[in-house]
Symmetry: C2
Subunit: 112 residues, 2 copies
């Protein structure tokens, strides 16, 4: 698959911007959990898409997931498997993170 921006519908919709720096622990375990959580998120009601990048030099990563409502975001946050993964994140995988919930009001794109 070629990486590209998520194919989201016309605004308005919601974005969860998750910015983090990883610890240097458990790279394989983390990758496996991240992959599991991506698949689980994609199966949730109201999921529209996501984009993710991590810079190996700085360790900073940004994942943006897109949702059709704030209710969908709340339901995903409350999902029991996701809550367990977030707990592991605080215990082992992240040095620091920030979460921002935002309403996308305008969007445009361009392709070569």
């Amino acid at each position: 698959m070629t990486a590209k921006p998520a194919a989201t519908p016309a605004p308005p919709y919601y974005a969860v911007i998750f910015t983090s720096r990883r610890t240097d622990q458990d790279a394989d375990e983390y990758a496996e959990m991240a992959s599991t959580m991506e698949a689980l998120a994609e199966a949730q009601p109201g999921y529209l898409g996501h984009e993710s990048a991590r810079d190996p030099d700085s360790g900073l990563g940004i994942t943006v997931s897109y949702w059709d409502s704030e209710d969908a975001i709340r339901a995903w946050k409350a999902h029991v498997d996701h809550a367990a993964a977030r707990r592991m994140g605080r215990e082992r995988w992240y040095e620091v993170f920030a979460v921002r919930i935002a309403r996308v009001e305008r969007a445009y794109g361009w392709q070569r």
Copy 2:
């Protein structure tokens, strides 16, 4: 400097989510322009911070800049040097990109 999430104030404020995939052209020239544009953005009225990551495997990059108003975002978009850089981006540096303008409504963070 240790990479970390931008130190933004309490919401509401605005985010510009810029998601792109680079061409394989002009890595040095691109890095220089990106650095120049970061410094210029930081000097604009209403600038609150930014975060950036690019995955070298997938080529996908995400830059999120934060602003205190939509007017500040519009003024930065209209800046003549920024407009020239965006033109270069379409001509040479990007295969595809998406821009989303969003109002940050809630935010929280965590640090080890």
